[in-house]
Amino acid sequence: MFGFGTTNSLTMDKPHPESLLDSAVQGSIGRPFDRIDGPSKVSGTATYAAEYPVDNLAYGFLVGARIGAGTLISIDADAVRSMPGVIDVVTDLDRFIRVAGQGGETQPPTQGVRDIAFMGEIVAIVVAESYEAARDAALRLPVTYEAGEGAYAFAAARAKSYVPPDGVTPAHFNQGDVDAAMAEAPVTIDATYVTPSQNSAAMEPHASIAVWEDDGSLTLYGAYQMPSTDASQLAKCLGLSAKKVRIVSRYIGGGFGSKLGIAPESVAAAIAAKQIGRPVKAVMARQQVFEATVRRSNTEQRVRLAATRDGKLTAIGQESLVSNQPGEDFFEPVGIGTHMIYSGENRLITHDQVPLNLVLSGSMRAPGEAVGMIGLECAMDELAERLGMDPIVLRKTNDASVDPEKGVPFSSRSLSRALDEGARRFGWARRAGPGEARDGEWLIGMGVASAVRGNMLMESSAKVELRPDGTATISSSMTDIGTGSYTILAQIASEILGLPVDRITVALGDTNDPPAAGSGGSWGAGSAGSAVYLACEMLRGKLAKAMRVEDSALTLKDGMAIGNNRSSPIGEIVGDGLEAIGHIKPGKQEKATTQASFGAHFAEVGVNRVTGEVRVRRMLGVFAAGRVLNAKTARSQCLGGMTFGIGAALTEELLHDPRNGKLVNRDLAEYHVPVNADVPQLEVHFLSERDVHANPIHAKGIGELGISGAAAAIANAIYNACKVRVRSFPVTLDKLLPGLPDL
């Protein structure tokens, strides 16, 4: 569909130094606009997946396996089929998906549920006239299994670790000789950090309404971050051509990676709907979201640092063990940020996979950096102490001017600036020595950590239409999972087309619209935003032609086109209307530069000297991620990331019974995401930056930068407060107690 007369396509093969967002004069871009979808969200009228009114709807409730590993022998559907309201028990042992899809995959996830690979695997769906009847029957459905051998305990299974295929980062990377550098260096750190499995715990459970149309196509109202590739996954699972599947995801109640690929409820709903000849709604129970969607892998990271006495790193080693189900390729890319954050000649960054019969490991907010920066940045804190150096000075000493492995320049990099600006704003100079500051029963400490998150551009397109009434519409299969896509896309169009934001309508989350990469990996704004930019650039050219001026001589502002000594309402020069499709694709810039956003976290915590309870008292994040498109929504993204860091540092941990893999804390009462009282007034500061290598809007991803390093800053603050170094996360009070002073 690309390359026709209405498409403006760009491959990022070279820098894009000029941006219309700088030369345009509407004044929309960057401003802290309120979300354009705000009123519908606060009034409860925004429509999430399970809320589309559909006639003749039946309710599905999923059934998860209650053994840890083995084989499904039988499902006694007759035992529940006669219960009042029950329509049918549906299963498809070949086509049901055993695990959720991974983000961006166009191939289906592992299918087939005869083999039980983990407790919670979805094996059937009970369909009934009411939700209550479906739930009851699903819980009572007799399923028999033959128990098999499973590996549930990380400690026991680690001996079976293997090298997984390369993913977004190489499984194994070696440069120079870390062992030798460690042997030679005057100051070294060799410490092992452990992080637990985590759950994204988006507030909206995974949900699908499957509707088969008369032409044999499927419409699925789903909670999906990447509808275009998800439609492809779903189509292949069902044996349909991709064109026969439409996914609609107008509003998504949070994703954080857990909704990148299709989840079991989508396939189950689609198969059930086909079988009973009615639309089926399937919403996962919260316990099922925990048990049967996706987890962030636990990690064990051996971090080795070697340094000269003046703090120059000579070696960085981060050797990680992670886990996933047997046969699944994805590995948590722990070291992805370590590759590019600090200089140091000798480098060893490895990932080995431990096969475990637990729910699938996949992407959760900042896969890699979110956990890898915990190990690395805590080790940097330990190194600074051993060197007798300020931890900020140590980090600045090792700030890399070019990619330390590839030798190419960074597209933009403001790490040292972020550290300095943060130190000034946070009052870092007031930091006392470990265990020295106290406020009543509370021991007070400050900590710092660097933040890095790789930037990605993903092929995306968007259509922009200009109408004779002077309004514009943007449409794309891009999604807004809470990031602010609706609003920033309107701001980009507003800026370039010279239309007030309230004259722009944005339609997202429908695969009938031009395909985009959706939301994930913090690529959404840069990718879909560039697509909108390119569409508007083309429209601007058409408006210039209509005004009979050179592009450069046209000014668009407040709905008026100005040039050639005249001005005209834009709606009056578009004829019956104009439309253009913008299309962006990654190119050579990806390799010519290393692209990442950078920042620094500062945390002040109190550790209760009686109980070991930890409270975050203050936190500041200073971030540089290219152009900020909306100061308000960007700040909110960072607040969210930092709060994920608080959870990772202090409370979040999936607990699996090592005897059978049962996830014991499979609800929001016992899987502790931070509550309001855990989070103080966080501060966020953006450094001004433009990234001309990233894309034409010069913006980089921001949604995951806020979590990178955040937990490490808190753990480092805990050490500074109480002089207890806990290397096993989360830092719960039981781990601090043994090191606290006697009463």
């Binding site: 739930r135 109980t611 016992e670 009282a677 009463l743």
Partner: protein
């Protein structure tokens, strides 16, 4: 949730008449019962709705004590000026529990009878002697960081989750009930709960169909009151350890002490030896340590919850320091 017959009772007498058979349940706030029914941990065949009974007032008695209706919501009880003035530990304990929404629904009587939050109790695929007598206990040898270190048995190591009931134990509350045969009885809170032994599914001395109608508090006692709750989040989390304490110091000596503990045992915990170690003593580190030693003398950890023993010691000692200024 299995289906059930539903009746709304208009009087307590009608309520206990309506409750026929061991598989019927009273429902008031429903915040715990419906939670468990959705998972089919509880499967009553009949619900008797007692939420409209006239049992929602808080009245001062002539003896200076308070009579609290079993249907008084936790929010109202916590905010009641008489409770704040005379029983601050109760108000504090209530406010430390659950959330504003849950406290608005949860009733006084229901709170006393909350079921454990043990992970294995909550999953019908796990073995649990409390849920399914005789099936075994997956918590022993399983994931048990949040579970009990006092009063456990080889059959059950569950904790009682209530904060309110801990304060009520420190306050020597009395439970008033109405039985299906029309008899009324008074049960000291100290006699309400049973240790698990080999029947962990029987948690109280209440008989089938016996309805809690009121809770009586004796008239306020001398001393400072505090409820200290230690938990994994700053709010909206169950106690790892909690202490409800009322301590009076006169002429340099501890004149009286009433101490109850949450998060440690299968019931709100109280141990006379802890108080005996304090009363008559001058507030001192030694006296506090003796009390703490008495508390944990019979404590037993199950691995991941071992930490509760030193945590309980430390929390008690710090609480006593705060209350006595020592």
């Amino acid at each position: 949730m299995k289906s059930f017959a539903y009746e709304r009772a208009e009087t307590p007498e009608a309520a206990v008449r309506d409750i026929d058979g061991a598989t019927a349940r009273f429902i008031a706030g429903g915040t715990n019962l419906l939670d468990l029914m959705k998972l089919q941990v509880e499967t009553p065949t009949k619900l008797v709705d007692i939420s409209r009974l006239d049992l929602a007032s808080i009245d001062r008695r002539d003896d200076g004590g308070l009579t609290i209706g079993a249907l008084v919501p936790n929010s109202d009880l916590a905010a009641d000026p008489q409770v704040i003035a005379g029983y601050e530990v109760l108000s504090r304990a209530l406010l430390a529990g659950a959330s504003g929404q849950l406290r608005n629904k949860a009733s006084t009587g229901g709170n006393l009878l909350q079921r454990t939050r043990c992970y294995y109790f909550y999953d019908t695929a796990s073995r649990c002697n409390k849920r399914s007598p005789g099936s075994g206990c997956d918590a022993i040898g399983g994931v048990n960081r949040i579970l009990a270190v006092l009063g456990t048995s080889p059959h059950c190591i569950a904790t009682h989750p209530s904060d309110m009931a801990v304060a009520m134990r420190a306050l020597d509350a009395t439970i008033l009930t109405l039985k299906p045969d029309g008899d009324r009885r008074r049960i000291s809170i100290h006699a309400l709960y049973r240790l698990p032994g080999d029947t962990p599914h029987i948690e109280t001395v209440l008989e089938p169909g016996e309805l809690i109608t009121h809770v009586e508090l004796p008239k306020p006692v001398a001393g400072r009151q505090v409820y200290r709750k230690v938990r994994d989040r700053a709010s909206y989390a169950f106690a790892l350890v909690s202490v409800a304490a009322i301590v009076a110091v006169e002429e340099g000596r501890i004149a009286s002490a009433s101490l109850a503990f949450g998060g440690l045992g299968p019931m709100p915990w109280r141990n006379a030896a802890v108080e005996a170690a304090l009363v008559g003593q001058a507030p001192s580190a030694d006296a506090f340590a003796a009390a703490a030693d008495a508390l944990v003398a019979d404590a037993r950890g199950y691995g991941a919850n071992d930490f509760k023993i030193p945590l309980a010691r430390r929390t008690l000692i710090a609480t006593l320091r705060d209350l006595t200024g020592a």
